[in-house]
């Protein structure tokens, strides 16, 4: 579905704008519009030209600005509408960041409560989806800080034997990860990362934020963000190798 009646701005961050082709992203924009509209027919498909559905009147689309303005004015139904449009994206973001369903739901709730409190302050300096995304990330970060989890440099404290020096732990060539990775194995490995590593990896490699943006969010240096990301990736590589070895033994 190359075209759809997405009524919200399709990008979350400048970085994500660069990643528009990704499958997940295409999914989320179409999902966001799902409650409101019927997906259009694909263009250029001869067999669809005589379809009765093509001559149907176009669906009524409520512009984002209108829903937003009504929600800002205190219209409860409009706010519920915003929730239905953004719930998947925000819940999925929380889930990626904390790796726990119950916590992710609590954080989604908190993010929408924050949104309810602050929606009147949204001035449109950025896309609403960008603003909500940032707000939600802040909710998660605040939660992690409250839990007492240091958001950076967790590695040495948790796994003191970890050594990421050059030339370490290279397995036999048949364990090479090059080519393909089991997505579920990687998701499990990400979920098992220490919180600080998971955060950096998700923010940079999954969500598409740049190091300077992450550094600002986490109140650390750009160099620290880069080094933590590298360590996170190395940990994932080790975890995947281990998982492949275990799989090979079965």
């Amino acid at each position: 579905m190359a075209q759809h009646h997405t009524i919200f701005t399709a990008t979350d961050t400048p970085s994500q704008r660069k990643r528009m082709p990704r499958t997940r992203f295409q999914k989320q924009t179409s999902e966001a519009a799902a409650p409101e509209v019927t997906p259009p027919e694909k263009e250029g498909r001869g067999e669809l030209q005589s379809s009765p559905r093509e001559v149907a009147p176009p669906p009524v689309i409520t512009p984002e600005a209108d829903i937003l303005a009504r929600a800002q004015a205190g219209d409860h139904h409009a706010f519920a509408h915003l929730y239905s449009l953004h719930k998947r994206r925000i819940y999925s973001l929380c889930l990626r960041m904390v790796g726990n369903v119950a916590e992710a739901e609590d954080l989604t709730q908190e993010a929408f409560l924050q949104l309810h409190r602050k929606i009147a302050t949204f001035r449109g300096d950025s896309a609403f989806s960008t603003w909500l995304h940032r707000l939600s990330i802040n909710v998660v970060l605040m939660h992690l800080r409250k839990k007492g989890l240091p958001l950076m440099s967790l590695d040495e404290a948790i796994e003191p034997s970890y050594d990421d020096g050059p030339g370490r732990s290279f397995g036999a060539p048949d364990l090479s990860l090059t080519g393909s990775i089991d997505r579920l194995a990687l998701e499990r490995a990400v979920a098992a990362l220490p919180a600080g590593y998971r955060l950096i990896f998700v923010l940079h490699d999954v969500e598409g934020f740049e190091h300077n943006e992450i550094a600002a969010m986490l109140d650390c240096s750009v160099g620290n963000s880069k080094s933590q990301l590298h360590k996170a990736r190395l940990k994932l590589r080790d975890a995947l190798r281990l998982s492949m070895r275990k799989g090979g033994r079965r």
């Binding site: 999902e31 994206r89 819940y91 739901e105 709730q109 020096g165 090059t178 997505r183 998701e187």
Partner: protein
């Protein structure tokens, strides 16, 4: 000080990996990669992970009752504001 790629050690090359991996920069012709199989493999594996990351965690739907929880919390907040 810029490192000379030709005389770069593994440690020096790997110190740049955080930026090189996922950047889209073509390192195939990097002098160190050409000479060092270990670093080549490391680079390729990390690149594979980063490429796979873009497809990770497809969006999921929260529980249906989450809106009810949110709605109830909003009403509670609104109520407490009105009674203050």
């Amino acid at each position: 000080m810029t490192m000379d790629p030709k005389s770069m050690s593994c440690e020096e090359f790997q110190s740049q990996l955080a930026e090189l991996v996922g950047s889209g920069v073509d390192v195939e012709n990097h002098p160190h990669i050409k000479e060092c199989d270990i670093c080549r493999q490391l680079f390729e594996e990390l690149q594979t992970i980063v490429d796979a990351a873009k497809q990770l965690f497809p969006e999921q739907q929260p529980e249906d009752n989450l809106w009810e929880r949110i709605e109830s919390a909003i009403k509670k907040e609104d109520g407490s504001i009105k009674t203050e």
